[in-house]
Amino acid sequence: MAKVLMKGCEAIGEAAIRAGCRNFFGYPITPQTEVPEYLAKRFPEVDGSYVQAESEVAAINMLYGGAGVGKRVLTTSSSPGISLMAEGVSYIAACHLPIVFVNIVRAGPGLGGILPAQSDYLQATKGHGHGDYKLLVLAPASVQEAVDLIYEAFDLADHYLTPVMVMGDGMIGQMMEPVDLPDMRDLSDLVEKPWAATGACGRGPNIINSLYLKEDMCNANSWKLKEKADEIERKEQRSEAYACPGDVLDVLVVAYGTMARICKTAADEVKKKDKKKVGVFRPISLWPYPYEALAAEAKKAKKILVVEMSTGQMVEDVKLAVLGKKPIEFYGLTGGMVPSPDNVAHKLRSMIK
C-alpha cells in the first residue's frame, strides 16, 4: 500500500483498528487526545465502540471488563492519566489479561507540562501498580515504528496474557510522518480465549479474579507471573545499534524513542566534523531491557553517554548492562525541553576532546 501522511496519535488509532481492536475506552489528556478523537470518528466505519470514560480509573477498569470477555481493547493516555491507571493495570496483570495501553509521555511530576518528556521510564519499567508483575514496554522512535509496535502489541498481549504498554514521548504523538499501514488483521485466526467470561454455557463458570486469601495460592500466582516475566525477558528484548561498526568507539550513546533520533543526528555530525567514532544504541523494549545487546556494544566503546528527556531514569539500567567496566556520563533536559542535536554534539565533544 502507498504511504500516507499521518499524525502519530491518529496512526496509533488506525494501527489498533488494523490489529483487530474494536473497543476503546479513554479520557482526554494532552498530548494524546487525537487518539480518542480519531477513533470516535473512525470506529463507526468498522463497527467499533468508543466510550469516553469518566476518568482514567474507570477507563482502565473498562479495559479489564473488555479483556475479560475476550476482546482486544485499547486505551491511551498521558503521564497523569497513566498514574491513575496503575490500580487497574495491577488487577489486569494479576488476572493474566491481555490489554494494550499507550503512554504518550508529558513532562512531570505533578501536572508538569504538556510538552514531550521521558520522565515516566521508571514508573513503566520498574513499578507502576502494586504487586509482583512486569509490564512489557515498547518505545517507538518514529510514527512508522509506533504503528508497527501497536499492531504487534496486541499479538504479544494475547500470546503472553499480559498488559503491554507502548510508550512514546509527546513527539511521537504529535509529529506527522509518512507511514505504511498494515493490512486489516484477519480476525478469524486470533488466539482462542477459552478462559474468557463469555457466559457459562455448556461449561462451568469462568472466573476472572486476583484475590487469593490463601497465601500459598497468592504466592503461586506471583510466581506464575514471574515465570511469564522470565520468558518475556528471554524472548522479547529488542534494540537497534546505529552506525556502530568497527572495534573501537570513542563514545557509545544510549537513548530511546525520539531522543535516539536526535542523538543519531548528533553522532553523524561529530563523526563527520570531528572524525570521531560515535555509535548510538537504542533500546526498543524498555522492559525487558536489552542488557546483553547493550553490553556487547558497550565493549567496543571507551565511554558511554546516556541521553534522556528526564533527569536520568534509564542510567541505572545502562549501569546494570555495563557493570562498571566503562565510564558512564549523562546528559538530559526535561520539563518539556528537548535536547537538540547541537546540545548532544556539544556534550559528545566535551567527552572526546
Binding site: 465502540s49 470477555v69 463469555t198
Partner: protein, 261 residues
Amino acid sequence: MKKVFGYPEALTTNQTHYCPGCTHGTIHRMVAESLGELGLRERAVGIAPVGCSVLAYNYFNCDMFEAAHGRAPAVATGAKRCRPDLILFTYQGDGDLASIGAAEILHAANRGEKITVIFVNNAIYGMTGGQMAPTTMPGQVTTTCPFGRNPDHEGYPIRVVELLSTLRTPAYLARVASHTPLHVVEAKKAVREAFRLQAENTCFTMVEILSVCPTNWGLTSAESNEWLEQNMLPYYPLGVFKHPDRSEADSAAEAGVLQGA
C-alpha cells in the same frame, strides 16, 4: 408431582462465609432465582465487589469477575460494550458503590449502560470491621464515628437511588428491603424486573436493597431487622423511583406515596 421450589441453578453449592443473620445470602438467592427464571444464567456475567461479598464469585454459578473496590460498574461497562449479548450484573456494598465507586456508578447510570446493579445498603463497612459508610445513619455508632455519625461533621447519608433519579437518562431504579419475608418477596420482584429490562436491552437498572449487618451493628439478627425497620426505612423510602415505561412524574409520585407510607 410438579416441582414448585428448588435450589437455584445459578447458585453453586458452596457454603457461604456470611455471618449468621446476614442478608447477603438472601440477596444472592434473589439474583440467582431471577437469572434462572428468565433463562439468563448461561449468558450472565457477574462482577463481585470489594466488601463482604468479595467472594460472590464462589457462590454464583455463572461467569464472574472480581473487581477493584468501587470499579464494578466500569468493569461491567467494558464487558457489556464489548459483548452486548451478555447479561452483566454488579453486586456492590455501600462503601464500594457510594463512596470509593461514586463516580463509576454515577456515570454508568448516566451513560445508560445496559447492566443490572445490585446495591446492598447495610449502612456500614462490613468487611473491614464496621467503619462509617456514606449511608451510615445520623447518630449511628461505628468504629470510625464512635460517638455516632454527626451530620455537621460527616454530612447526611447519601440516598443513592434518589440521586440517580435526577439523571435524565432512562433507568429502572428501585429501593427494596430484605429484613422480613414480605420485603424479600417484593425485593425479588424488583431484582427480576431489573434483569428483565436488561434482557430486553431497555436501560440501566439498579436495585438498592436495605440490608442488615448484625455483626458490626452489634445486634442480634432479630434486633437488626427491627433496627432497619425503625431507623433506615424512614430515611430510605422503598419504591420504584424510575421506570422506563413510566413518566418521571408518575415515578416521583409513587416514591412520594411510599415515602409517606
